[in-house]
Amino acid sequence: MFFLRGASGSGKSTLLNIIGGIVTPQHGQVNIVGHDFCQLKGLQKDRVRADHIGFIFQQFNLIPYLSILENVILPCRFSKLRRDNAIKRSGSVLEEATYLLNRLYPKGKFSFHRTTSELSVGQQQRVAAARALIGQPQLIIADEPTSSLDYDAREAFMALLFDEIKQSGSTLLYVSHDPTHQHLFDSVVDMSLINPHLELAL
């Protein structure tokens, strides 16, 4: 589990876009779960992203016109590997999504068929976490997932996320400017150490 720390404007988003295969770096090497992104074409990178990476963003993670369940199973639409993984674990994609949602909503009482627009931000982040976890991708990237939550919700969310990631055995890349949780991680990396242009820009 990695903690990537950096102030806003330090190149975090660019780095995430490079890891996600959306942006191709001008030089250097990117190796994601055994795939050299500099060698791959756009579509192949899309495939790697779909198969191996789950994302949780700061907010607005969910597609408003889809239900909670539909949002969670979305990655399985684009990745056969994750669909197969989900089926292997729970029998069906929907079963797996329901299982994950139940884990992340310990006291959840409401229907997962509701649309996501009525959810609070904290609930939305849990749905986003379930979506990132479905089909057990090797890499989970969480980009300030708790910054729009209040303190209690933040603590609860972090505990659940850590639980689930330990269960699935994925790698977590946690990106934040806030060092509060950095003691929980195996390794902490500061953006200013890996981005030489930052000094120049400042």
Partner: protein
């Protein structure tokens, strides 16, 4: 989740604009196909006005004018032809039948046509259909009249009713043949041709009306007994000719056109009909072009709505990208939405058209004598729909390309 399903849900979430877009496409499709249907039916009903007749003969004038007054009862003849010439030509070798036509009088806006009894057995319209009687029979006596379906319908006439014919063709004529009323002996079945709007009497009847008349003025004079024998007309307006063999029609046309006794004109009805339709096709083409522009307007409206919504959907696109969607998926999603809107619009348009025709059918038939059936789209209409679908695909490419550009710029970083 299928891409099509996502597109559907996305459209449902924006239902108000989606419904408006669908409606505008539906209305434009209904208009386009409606115009096409009216055009095709008008043309076929037009071409079906007369059939089985090889030549139409009248005094020398223009072919369209002759067609108009002899078949469509529109306008008047410049000159009559003498009954002697008619008799002479009717006896020519190769002539199978002739129907004399004598026009010039009217009854409450409907034209009165003097003709022979052969008319009811020989005259053909549409696919070689002859006239049929809805009730009654053909005229026997001098003062018997047979009326078309529309005359009977509009004036509420029945067998045995008396009608008074006016001199001239205006609907409010002052000179009326009041002294010689006609009695309705038969009512024809509906044909969808000008026959429906005609009052048919014998040639002798036309003569009898005008006995004791000089020019258009009534003269007081003791009348003799009016029998068919002493009511031989001096002239008729035109006549229709049926020949034994079609091959002879050119020869016969030349013979009539070069007829020595008086200047005559013989025309082929098919060619004259074509010329006349060609004349009117300008309006029909203009109508079709206008409705094509309406369709274009609807497509442009859809494009505008789609492009305007694109900015709000950047977030959605970024989310889809982050869960593994490629650029192709994003473009596919937007094109699918456009095509989906168009398909629903087209289907709704077809329903609208069917209801529209069903509703307007009796009105159009009554006013214009044009029957428009509710039918499945023909190949041409199907082609139009296909072109529209392809056009929507092309229109869909524009927002799809824009979304592609946006997603290149945005990546997965989500801007609210």
């Amino acid at each position: 989740m299928k891409l099509r399903l996502i597109a559907k849900k996305s459209l449902i979430s924006r239902r108000s604009t989606a419904i408006l877009t669908i409606l505008s496409i539906a209305m434009s499709v209904a208009l386009l196909l409606g115009v096409e249907k009216v055009r095709v039916n008008a043309q076929s009903s037009f071409a079906n006005t007369i059939s089985g007749t090889d030549l139409i003969v009248g005094a020398r004038s223009g072919s369209i004018q002759l067609l108009l007054y002899s078949v469509f009862r529109i306008g008047d003849a410049t000159n009559n032809i003498s009954f002697k010439s008619y008799q002479d030509l009717a006896q020519q070798k190769g002539v199978k039948w002739t129907i004399p036509i004598s026009l010039g009088d009217s009854h409450r806006g409907f034209r009165v046509m003097g003709t022979s009894r052969d008319y009811f057995s020989v005259y053909q319209y549409g696919e070689k259909r002859t006239l049929e009687f809805a009730s009654g029979k053909q005229f026997e006596g001098v003062f018997d009249a047979v009326i078309g379906a529309e005359v009977a319908n509009a004036l509420n006439y029945a067998i045995g009713d008396q009608v008074i014919v006016s001199h001239g063709t205006g609907s409010a004529s002052f000179a009326q043949h009041k002294d010689k009323p006609f009695i309705i002996s038969g009512i024809l079945k509906h044909t969808g041709t000008p026959v429906d709007r005609t009052l048919h009497v014998s040639l002798a009847g036309i003569e009898a009306m005008h006995v004791n008349w000089q020019g258009a003025v009534k003269k007081r004079k003791a009348s003799k007994a009016l029998t068919e024998a002493n009511l031989q007309p001096d002239s008729i307006t035109a006549f229709l000719v049926g020949l034994d063999s079609k091959i002879a029609s050119f020869k016969m046309q030349r013979y009539i056109n070069e007829y020595k006794a008086e200047p005559l004109l013989a025309i082929f009805p098919g060619i004259a009909l074509y010329e006349l339709w060609d004349l009117m096709s300008v309006a029909e083409k203009a109508l079709l072009i206008i409705s094509m522009f309406v369709v274009l307007g609807a497509l442009t409206g859809m494009l505008a709505v789609s492009l305007a919504g694109l900015n709000e959907r950047r977030r959605e696109v970024a989310i889809l990208r982050s869960v593994g969607a490629s650029h192709w998926h994003i473009m596919g999603l937007l094109i699918t939405e456009t095509v989906l809107l168009t398909v629903v619009g087209i289907l709704l348009g077809l329903v609208l058209l069917c209801f529209g025709i069903w509703f307007a059918q009796p009105i159009i038939e009554k006013t214009y004598g044009l029957f428009i059936p509710v039918t499945a789209p023909n190949i041409r209409e199907f082609g139009m729909v296909c072109v529209l679908l392809i056009a929507s695909l092309i229109v869909g490419l524009v927002p799809a390309y824009r979304a592609y550009k946006n997603s290149l710029a945005d990546g997965m970083s989500i801007r609210s």
